[in-house]
Amino acid sequence: MAEHISCQEVIELVTDYLERALPSEEASLFEQHINFCDGCEWYLDQMRATVAAVGRIEEEEVPPETRDKLLTAFRHWKRT
């Protein structure tokens, strides 16, 4: 295991880190790097902000014909 990892390596480990899927040794190297590298700390923040933004997107429209069909089915179901 290398004694340190580069920024280019760090950015590819971000998701595994956030998913807590990194082996403990690699997780330590990752955290050591983040602690002294502002660029990667900001990058990690950007990825967290991205996840937050994705969580806030609005729902897409359901095609009208599909919606009508399902609502009709729902009304029938209600009566039975």
Binding site: C7, V14, T15, A53, L70
Partner: protein, 216 residues
Amino acid sequence: MTEIGVQNSAAGAEDVELVARLRAGDEKAFEALVTRHYATMLAVARTYVKTRAVAEEVVQEAWLGLLQSLDRFQGRSSLKTWILAILVNKAKTRAVGEARTVPFASLAREADEPAVEPERFRGPHDAFPGHWRSYPANWGASAEVAAEDHETLRVTMRAIAELPPAQQTVIRMRDVEGYSSDEVCAALDVSAANQRVLLHRARSRVRAALEAHLDG
């Protein structure tokens, strides 16, 4: 319907109330539920069948199936887990005979794609190979504010819509709908490692789109 249930969290109070409203014939509640899950259901169905048209039929069949079995819903799993299980059942039934087009086959190629362009890092002959040439911006608190901004959300939605199907499905399930990684792996027949690769590529591309928008 429990084959998906890797680690089902039980239905919460919200689910119980929603199901009661559906049983009482609340059309608005049904419509809201369909709207909330439609895009993700379509994305999941598309990983099993060939065309968008067939995927739409599968999603419709799933909703009809849900209505038929709604009276049997006992809240042992969350409503969204239950909806997903019905959908995957319908999709698998439909996929029989219609050879699955496994968009995950393109995984290896997608996996080679770097999260950030290599040009942004110092080269092998530099004193600090692999380090940033110039740092990415510190979004800081502005990212929180920007995420509330309509234009930022539009950029985010467009970036997601432009992702390859497998990546789009995974980021929707995980980050939009809040399914667990176990649920995603079970629903898509994908390994935990491959699920993370898809999630990483998807988040990285959306981040790049946001960066172009916010720093542009």
